[in-house]
């Protein structure tokens, strides 16, 4: 018998974040947006931090954006990623102005084993949304696209 595969970190939604994960399951990136003042609210919370309205509406975003920062992971990491290093974790600034974290993937959404050099990873580089599978978990991820 082979050992059980190592577990990936598992998102644990609560009532304030569940719609996001429901959206992800349908491969839609949705973010709370204030119905009163239009503020995008990330990370999700039940109140608009700009105008204090309590009616944010889950709204789809394109997922297009730019690289705001990144890191390249090297050992020691969680066992689930140990044989897939180096890998790139991106901080993406979406065109809507909010920033999200996700891994650098290829056009099909497969995690790239890279430090980003070959792909031309750079600050401000354009990225587009893809979907990555980690065990049974679906996660937003980003791929580099030309300007």
């Amino acid at each position: 018998m082979s050992a059980a595969p190592p577990l990936p970190p598992r998102p644990v939604p609560d009532q304030d974040t569940l719609p996001f994960w429901d959206g992800v399951a349908e491969r839609m990136l949705i973010v709370p947006r204030c119905a009163s003042c239009g503020q995008w609210i990330w990370q999700p919370r039940p109140v608009c931090y700009r105008c204090r309205a309590t009616n944010p509406v889950w709204t789809q975003v394109s997922g297009n954006g730019r690289v705001a920062s990144w890191t390249v992971l090297h050992p020691p990491v969680l066992p689930v990623w140990a044989d897939r290093l180096p890998l790139v974790v991106l901080l993406v600034e979406l065109d809507e102005g909010i920033r999200m974290v996700g891994q650098l993937v290829d056009d099909e959404g497969t995690l790239l084993q890279t430090d980003g050099t070959a792909e031309g990873l750079a600050m401000g580089a354009r990225v587009a949304l893809r979907w990555r599978k980690e065990a049974d978990i679906t996660l937003p991820a980003w791929t580099l696209v030309g300007d």
């Binding site: 990936p8 970190p9 998102p11 931090y49 920062s69 390249v72 090297h74 974790v89 996660l139 991820a141």
Partner: protein, 375 residues
């Protein structure tokens, strides 16, 4: 404030990779040592403060060492941000007359106890949007900030290397320090990556350590055979959209809560950066030292490498700090701050009147100034 808080006792157990006892045990020994240093006993203790991350609560520790009654207790949150805020809490208790002798401590088996992130598989709260993507270790979160600072300020890896090497030199003078081998720029630059752009020597140590301090009032200290170190002032700050480590969601990337602490600190102390003789900047990672010089107003934004090279900057992290002495969530920086004012550092700066000590820069945090004289 008519009542003034002073530090009258401090003690630390030898740092190690395996201290061979529980954090309860090492914490108790550190506290008993600090009381002895102050010429006080457990019978005098009526207040206790700790980090929220301290696994032994004030209540449990009071039971362990046999405190008759705690008139004041409390804890401060946010990991390495808690150091100065915990000292602030203890100082406030004394200044307000809520307690007369307050013990503060941090004991942590961060080496023998393993890496806390290894078992963190279930990602709740803010973690659900970060950890599944690989932001797991503190270094991962810091690496994203660091690349922003490098891009914004033109900082080079050599600038971080200089911090690591300077602190190693300080550690070499400190018999308590864990890392005392020479460190060269070549070794720094060729060391393995952890989370690019951070390499091994940009990261703090993983240490078992236990340290404690005793605070009391200026009046009470007059009866003691110690030279009191005054808590000149302190401040806390969160900034907007405060997250621990992953401060990415506010308006301006690269600004940390320290920039909110700083103006409060200078107002509360009546001092300015020019008055500070030596600093202990929170240094879980090398870039935090460079950042702290500008966020606390010592130099223009992003100019720390040139400012340090000019020789104008007050010396930093004189015990070797988290990078080379020990990593105990910044408590050793607080202890070193008191030592500098006492005049007992192993890298003693001449005639120190004021030492600034800061806590974790990318978490809700605080800072404190220790002084030779009251305000």
């Amino acid at each position: 404030m008519s009542r003034k808080a002073v530090v009258v006792g401090l003690h630390g157990l030898p740092f190690s990779k395996n201290i061979g006892m529980t954090e309860r045990h090492s914490g108790a020994l550190a506290i008993l040592g600090a009381l002895k240093d102050a010429g006080l006993t457990v019978a005098d203790v009526d207040g206790m403060c700790r980090y929220v991350w301290q696994p032994t609560t004030e209540m449990e520790m009071a039971r362990v060492i046999g405190v008759q009654n705690l008139r004041f207790f409390g804890a401060q949150d946010y990991g390495g941000g808690a150091g100065a805020p915990t000292m602030a809490l203890a100082s406030m208790a004394i200044e307000l007359g809520l307690a007369e002798v307050v013990v503060v401590w941090r004991s942590r088996n961060r080496s023998s106890g393993g890496r806390p992130w290894v078992g963190q598989i279930m990602a709740e709260g803010q973690d659900q949007f970060e950890r599944p993507h690989g932001l797991v270790r503190p270094a991962d979160g810091m690496a994203l900030h660091t690349r922003v600072w490098m891009h914004k300020y033109g900082w080079k890896r050599e600038d971080f290397g200089n911090v690591a090497i300077t602190q190693r030199r300080h550690a070499q003078a400190n018999p308590m320090a864990m890392m005392r081998k020479d460190l060269t720029m070549e070794e720094y630059l060729s060391s393995r990556w952890v989370a690019e752009p951070l390499c091994l020597f940009d990261n703090c140590l993983e240490t078992d350590g236990a340290l404690a301090m005793v605070l009391t009032s200026e009046e009470r200290a007059r009866d003691l055979d110690v030279t009191p170190v005054y808590v000149r002032g302190y401040a806390l700050g969160s900034g907007p959209q405060g997250y621990a480590m992953t401060f990415y969601y506010g308006d301006e990337l690269g600004v940390t809560p320290a920039s909110y602490v700083a103006p409060e600190l200078w107002r509360n102390t009546g001092l300015k950066p020019d008055d500070i003789d030596v600093v202990q900047f929170y240094d879980a990672f090398t870039p935090q030292v460079l950042l702290s010089y500008h966020e606390y107003g010592f130099c223009d934004e992003g100019d720390a490498p040139a400012y340090i090279a000019s020789g104008e900057a007050p010396p930093y992290n004189t015990s070797g700090g988290g990078l080379s002495e020990a990593y105990v969530h910044g408590f050793n920086l607080l202890v070193e701050g008191v030592r500098q004012v006492r005049g007992t550092s192993t890298t003693q700066v001449e005639s120190v009147n004021h030492c600034l000590v800061t806590s974790g820069a990318v978490v809700p945090t605080g800072a404190i100034v220790f002084s030779k004289e009251p305000a």
